[in-house]
């Protein structure tokens, strides 16, 4: 049921909620030392927030308020851990399931819901947030991330020792996307340019209905090696491994070590999207096996063992209720975008055809006297 479980994998937080740093991963374990209790609580709070958001969005889709929802349930540790490991100047290129990473970078969650409702295609500012827009065509964003990292290198913002200026790039993609040529080309361009980038592959083991064994013959963390991009596998349901390993390799990339690949072995507990029916292609036992390795449960066990009391968890649950209520209200209040938005920003300068068509449509709509 586990995928080639014999492969080495960084894990610090066990499904039983025990933290242990094996000697072979001591270098990564160093990055746990600076974490305070507040950090651990933040990890849990944000993972829970992500899941609550996810459940609420699924409900909104079922009520017809969203056209589609793309659940990330089960992948919260991979996303929240790595997201918080990203430095203050670093840039993030997500795929389309990275709601947890978005949470770590204060993306207005309504921006994501607007997109899935069909109000816009994203609409947050990628420069300001350093969290780039969701990319729906698989693997395309990995080349953009690579190009961005090449630009950072050309700018001389790598390895200068000035931590206020240096930066690195992290690109998220899934196991399915690794089959796309763009991902392989990204490894190549990143390697030959020695670009400051971490390729973060969330192997959730399913690409809609295709198992990861349909996408690769070798463990995915080895995929970059032939291009000159070394890699490592982490337990993607362990927020500490996700944080520490991403932290180290983003630091290394920023300091000039070149590209690196992290394979976060996780599991897509939910459907690919709300349009999908996973019971048609996978067994319940497999899902149950992974539910027992739930990223939130194991962190909760750890926190309780370490003296975090029920008040904290009650507060998290309460915050979840508040979030749900806010999201529901805001979603119901969303209007349709004005006609002009369809024609705006197609080009940065005036364009005769588009101007003509926008004028025509407005005129046509107005001809109905508001009764259309």
């Amino acid at each position: 049921m586990t995928l080639d479980a014999s492969e080495p994998m960084v894990q610090f937080l066990s499904p039983e909620g025990e933290v242990r740093v094996p000697a072979q991963w001591a270098e990564y374990g160093e990055h746990l030392k600076s974490l305070t209790e507040a950090d651990y609580l933040k990890f849990y709070r944000e993972m829970a927030r992500c899941r609550r958001f996810d459940n609420e969005a699924t409900a909104l889709q079922r009520q017809g308020q969203l056209g589609l929802w793309i659940p990330a349930i089960g992948q919260e540790a991979a996303q929240i851990g790595s997201g918080f490991a990203v430095g203050p100047n670093d840039h993030i290129f997500p795929s389309y399931r990275e709601h947890g990473v978005a949470i770590t970078h204060d993306i207005d969650l309504m921006s994501i819901l607007k997109m899935l409702r069909g109000v816009n295609h994203g609409g947050w500012n990628p420069d300001e947030t350093r969290f780039h827009l969701y990319a729906i065509v698989l693997g395309t964003q990995v080349l953009h991330a690579t190009g961005y990292a090449m630009g950072v290198k050309f700018d001389g913002k790598v390895g200068t020792g000035n931590i206020d200026e240096d930066l690195a790039v992290i690109s998220y993609f899934g196991d399915g996307a690794t089959a796309e040529g763009d991902v392989s080309e990204s490894f190549l361009f990143a390697a030959i340019n020695h670009a400051p980038i971490v390729f973060f592959c969330q192997n959730n083991q399913w690409a809609i209905s295709s198992r990861v064994t349909n996408q690769t013959k070798v463990p995915l963390y080895q995929r970059g090696a032939g291009f000159g991009v070394p890699g490592i596998r982490i337990d993607g349901n362990d927020v500490l491994a996700s944080y520490a390993v991403t932290k180290k390799h983003m630091n290394d990339a920023r300091e000039g070590a070149g590209p690196f690949m992290i394979e976060a072995l996780t599991y897509r507990i939910g459907a690919h999207t709300t349009s999908d029916d996973p019971t048609k292609y996978r067994e319940d036992e497999e899902v149950e096996y992974w539910k027992a390795r739930d990223p939130l449960d194991r962190l909760e066990k750890f926190l309780r063992k370490n003296g975090i009391n029920q008040d904290f968890f009650d507060q998290v649950a309460h915050d979840g209720e508040v979030l749900s209520e806010e999201i529901r209200k805001a979603t119901f209040a969303l209007g349709n975008p004005p006609i002009e938005t369809m024609f705006q920003h197609v080009y940065s300068q005036q364009h005769p055809l588009i101007d003509e068509q926008m004028a025509w449509l407005k005129n046509y709509e107005e001809s109905f006297g508001g009764e259309a």
Binding site: V137, L143, H144, Y148, H345, V346
Partner: protein
């Protein structure tokens, strides 16, 4: 022209690139074999020596990677100019161009701009093997978010490449490869037209003949022959394929009442299809005859020994002129 030099098109593009690179340190050149070699057509010759490996880089042979990383570089504030070695090699990058480059500004509601230029030697007539003689412009003209241009002479080549690089939108820059070594004057003082203006390059009264890129030379030749037969052809060099300067075309058609459109690309759903449709809409009562299109046949580009039969020549254009005048 106080400050005019005589250059072939390839050298004019080269000079235009050099000028753009001198003006703006954010302009970077990418492409296969463009550095020391100067590209397979030598268009970038000498630029690597002048600007160094940081700004003129040989890319891996991975067209999607060239365009995809150019997009990332544009996000970082660069102005990448990517060379695709041959027209028929652009298709591995088609996804990045159409789903990403063309749409990112719109997707981001204007937060991102994509000042990326894609230079592509285009068209046939050079006796090449398969995939080296194609005219893929209609695919890109059909895609919202892209600008598509094609110079036909050295002066336009010099100025249009600079205007394309200055554009804050992505520009497909189709270079007439059969005409690379055709010489002409380049006025170094200033551009005479903006990037998307068509230009009447020969005045006439009987028929309007519209062409772009390497077909412009053929169109002028046809107009010359027609004059010997007492027919006055007005020739328009479109220069821009998206957007199309319809105002210039319509003004001419209103005068002549007859229109022939010529290009190398296959005619089915081509640039000429769009012109015929729009002119029939915008100048219907001025037309004395249907719009006749002269283009490549709707077959894959043929082996070199047949290409002269595939490509429109002056005689095929004159045949179309006869047909529109017969109405």
């Amino acid at each position: 022209m106080s400050n005019s030099v005589e250059l072939p098109i390839a050298k004019a593009i080269n000079a235009g690139l050099r000028e753009a690179m001198r003006k703006d340190p954010k302009v970077l050149l990418f492409g296969e074999d463009i550095a020391e070699l100067g590209g397979v057509f030598r268009v970038t010759e000498g630029l690597h020596a002048e600007f160094g490996s940081g700004r003129v880089q040989n890319s891996p042979i991975a067209e999607s990677g060239i365009i995809g990383t150019s997009i990332g570089l544009a996000m970082r504030g660069y102005r990448p100019v990517a060379e695709i070695q041959f027209d028929g090699f652009i298709f591995p990058a088609f996804n990045q161009i159409v789903t990403q480059l063309a749409k990112l500004q719109n997707r981001s509601e204007g937060y991102l701009q994509m000042p990326v230029v894609i230079r592509v030697p285009v068209g046939g007539g050079i006796g090449a093997v398969e995939h080296h003689s194609e005219s893929p412009e209609a695919y890109f003209a059909h895609t919202a978010g892209l600008r598509v241009v094609s110079p036909s002479n050295p002066n336009d080549a010099y100025w249009m490449i600079q205007q394309a690089i200055e554009s804050t939108d992505p520009v497909l820059f189709f270079e007439p490869k059969r005409r690379y070594w055709q010489k002409g004057p380049v006025n170094l003082d200033g551009a005479s037209s903006s990037l998307h203006q068509a230009r009447v390059i020969r005045q006439g009264t009987d028929v309007t003949l519209v062409a772009y890129g390497q077909m412009v030379t053929v169109a002028l030749q046809a107009a010359e022959f027609a004059q010997d037969e007492g027919r006055s052809i007005e020739v328009i060099d479109m220069r821009s394929i998206s957007p199309i300067d319809f105002a210039t075309i319509i003004e001419s058609v209103k005068k002549t009442g007859r229109l022939v459109v010529a290009h190398e690309d296959s005619t089915f759903v081509s640039v000429s299809s769009e012109i015929a449709a729009r002119v029939s809409e915008l100048a219907f009562y001025h037309l004395e005859a249907p719009v006749i299109r002269v283009g490549g046949f709707d077959v894959p580009y043929p082996p070199a020994k047949l290409e002269e039969l595939f490509l429109p020549d002056a005689d095929r254009i004159l045949d179309a002129v006869d047909r529109v005048l017969a109405f």
